[in-house]
């Protein structure tokens, strides 16, 4: 990390839903105002604003930070826009953290959003370009072969994906902000849902959501002040980014090197040598259920080929040794640009003890994880209840 310790002192998010009836600014603003309120701050307390979202085509507004400057109280301040595909919510939070860690600013507001209902995810994600090899099957069709490769390599049985989806959707029932609240969901209802991109079933895929997430980050003095006021901060113990080429000969898309390196880097910064034991809770970017066992291995929580056994043994349940996605995760809410920041924010909520019904008692150290593109962009942070 840098010169200054970084504390997360305010977190806010919208209720994620298929259509939010506010304006684009209204959606972003709602999360930002909640984060400010949580931090006990007003707009004038903020030094700089960092905003992230996925492609501008989703809302049909080019460089929307320009239009959103007023809504985020950024007039007269630095305003910064990040876009790193699906990992963007995570990389946006890291830019905000860097602005504090470097000593440049004291209090930074960071926001990420997507208002997918303005257009349609399937459209914006699969614009067919001339001369490109035809995309025969959309995002699920891109990832399904990699999942099949994982199953072949590890010998994982078909029901693992169902278990993950069931767990995340049940966890979502404890999160009032989650998009999907499927009260009657069962193993069989997931199993019987339509097989879209074999082996991916309908209930094993993420929804398309409108939503936003925001955080207020401060330096050590700000974190200490929050603690003194009885609002426990989360402390940033490490941040890391990694990217690798989208397509190259011999690329391992099941266990990408970029993810391994990113995890190794962030754990080293946080002084973590045995992640399974030392991390109390994980918010992991899992848009298709099978990515949970794949990322368990990629991040070093499980030996190669064993991730699915952790799922089967209940390790990642809220009652397990390593609870994963207590919020319901991306499988229950997916405002794309915000999804990565939600992982980072939910990790911080856990170590602040403010996760409500989906709180893991005594969580002291948490990992927030985001990835994007064809699993080639990674962003992660480790946050803790204790000052690093």
């Amino acid at each position: 990390m840098g010169k200054e310790r970084v504390a997360i002192v305010g977190i806010g998010q919208t209720k994620h839903q298929s259509t939010n009836d506010g304006s684009i600014a209204g959606v972003v603003r709602t999360a930002a105002r909640r984060a400010l309120g949580d931090a006990g701050m007003t707009w004038s307390d903020i030094d700089a604003v960092v905003i992230g979202k996925a492609p501008d085509f989703f809302e049909g507004v080019m460089m929307p930070e320009l239009y959103l400057a007023d809504a985020l109280g950024a007039v007269g301040k630095p305003m910064f826009r990040v876009h790193t595909a699906g990992s963007v919510g995570g990389s946006t939070a890291i830019v905000a953290s860097d602005l504090i860690a470097s000593g440049i600013h004291e209090r930074v507001l960071t926001v990420a959003f997507e208002k997918q209902s303005e257009s349609e995810a399937m459209w914006a994600l699969s614009v067919s370009m001339p001369f490109q090899p035809p995309m025969h099957a959309g995002a699920g069709g891109y990832f399904a072969p990699h999942i099949r490769s994982y199953m072949a390599r590890s010998g994982a049985p078909d029901h693992i994906g169902i278990l993950v989806a069931l767990k995340d959707r049940l966890n979502a029932l404890k999160n009032p902000y989650a998009h999907l609240h499927e009260e009657g969901i069962t193993f069989d209802s997931v199993k019987d849902s339509m097989m879209l991109w074999d082996p991916i079933r309908y209930s094993e895929t993420c929804p398309s959501s409108d939503g936003a997430c925001a955080m207020v980050l401060t330096n050590e003095a700000g974190g200490d002040a929050a603690a003194a006021a009885g609002r426990a901060p989360a402390w940033v113990k490490g941040t890391a980014l990694r990217s690798e080429p989208t397509m190259f000969a011999g690329r391992d898309q099941v266990n990408p090197q970029g993810g391994q390196d990113c995890a190794a880097d962030v754990f080293a910064q946080a002084g973590i040598t045995d992640p399974l034991r030392e991390i109390d809770v994980v918010e992991m970017y899992v848009p298709f259920s099978w990515f949970e066992p794949m990322w368990l291995e990629n991040l070093g929580f499980a030996p190669i080929g064993e991730g699915w056994r952790y799922v089967e043994d209940g390790v990642t349940q809220m009652t397990g040794e390593l609870p994963v996605n207590c919020s319901g995760g991306v499988l229950s809410s997916n405002p794309i640009g915000a999804s990565g920041m939600l992982r980072f924010a939910e990790a911080a909520m856990q170590v602040r003890g403010q996760a409500g019904e989906h709180q893991i008692d005594g969580a002291r150290t948490a990992l927030g994880h985001a990835y994007g593109g064809g699993s080639q962009f990674f962003a992660m942070w480790v946050v803790g209840a204790d000052k690093p």
Binding site: D56, M63, Y67, P78, H83, D98
Partner: protein, 351 residues
């Protein structure tokens, strides 16, 4: 702040249309020039940050494949902004302030030729009350120019002088798209384009790209004989709606200039990302530049204006002049958004 300097800069030969190559093919030679050409091993790069816009390419996630031009293997620490490359440089500079990043590569690219750039940029506006009108950036600049002209902030003669000076400078810049000797009086005899602007008051439509390498402390001294040190850098934004701003001023440039310390010493040269002639006068005022400052010795955006890139090029041009001994203290400026909504100011110095 940690000392960080620009140590290498490469740019394309800017042109109206570079349609026979894609973005990777455009960027890859520049990466080679900025690294190998300056004797910088690729494995010295700790961080890469890029800038581009999907709306220029007409393709979502258009930046994803452009990273191939660098060859990010083994995996690298990397980020991307949907802003001008000057802001990508800012993100890299911030990383360096944290202490562990010593050398960073920044690249930016923009091809305006695939679409109708005026219509494309109209998508930047508030999507409810302005976007549906398809109000374009040339028209907005023209509205701004008339405000300044009628308020007496500047004159058409001054605007023509700006154009003539930039074109003259552009003739000396092998990378510029436009350049040559023009008579200001002859310029004023040209017909109006979007009145009160004439065509020459507007930037050319440009395809282009640029790469900048920055390095901290000893690494900078090792990689460059005369690094151009970033002594101050800051950026600020204003309200979005034109009706909420005083269009004759650039308040955000004034704010960024104060933070970056422009007034802390004499300025030898300035590279201003003022796409329209009258905007150079507005930005010059906002920076408080004295008479005699060499403004846009490269010819500036009036001679080549690759969108998402032209601001980064200003930093590269200013730094190159410092490194070659063409000045001791320079100001580089970048802008984004309608009528100078957002501005970045960077102060560069030699040793």
């Amino acid at each position: 702040m940690r000392d960080v300097a620009v140590v290498s800069f490469a740019q394309t030969h800017h042109a109206r249309e570079v349609s026979d190559i894609n973005e990777v093919e455009m960027l890859m030679p520049l990466m080679g020039e900025a690294l190998a050409g300056s004797g910088i091993p690729k494995d010295r790069i700790d961080f890469v940050c890029s800038a581009s816009s999907d709306y220029l390419a007409g393709q979502p996630f258009s930046f994803v494949m452009s990273l191939d031009a660098f060859g990010p293997w083994p995996p690298i620490s990397e980020s991307h902004v949907d802003m001008d490359g000057a802001w990508a440089l800012y993100e890299a500079w911030v990383k360096m302030q944290m202490g562990k990043t010593d050398v960073a590569l920044i690249y930016a690219y923009g091809k305006s030729s695939p679409g109708d750039i005026r219509r494309v940029l109209s998508r930047q506006m508030d999507p409810y009350t302005v976007g549906p009108l398809w109000l374009d950036p040339v028209s907005m600049a023209a509205l701004q120019a008339r405000v300044g002209l009628e308020a007496g902030t500047f004159t058409v003669e001054q605007m023509a002088e700006v154009v003539a000076r930039n074109r003259r400078a552009g003739a000396t810049n092998p990378y510029a798209q436009l350049g040559g000797e023009v008579d200001p009086a002859a310029l004023l005899a040209e017909p109006e384009f979007v009145a009160p602007l004439r065509k020459h008051d507007c930037p050319p439509i440009t395809d282009g790209a640029a790469v900048v390498v920055i390095a901290a402390g000893d690494a900078a001294r090792e990689l460059s004989d005369r690094p151009a040190w970033i002594r101050g850098i800051d950026h600020r934004i204003e309200a979005h709606a034109l009706g909420l701003r005083d269009l004759t001023r650039s308040v955000s440039t004034e704010q960024a200039a104060a933070r970056a310390g422009v007034a802390d010493g004499p300025v030898d040269l300035a590279e201003l990302h003022a796409p329209f002639s009258h905007q150079e006068l507005i930005i010059g005022d906002a920076l408080g530049l004295a008479d005699g400052v060499d403004v846009n010795p490269s010819g500036g955006p009036l001679c080549a204006n690759p969108i998402m890139t032209a601001g980064l090029i200003r930093i590269g041009e200013a730094a190159t002049r410092i490194s070659r001994g063409g000045g001791d203290r320079a100001v580089a400026h970048a802008t984004s958004g309608p009528c100078l909504q957002q501005n970045l100011v960077c102060v560069l110095e030699g040793e």
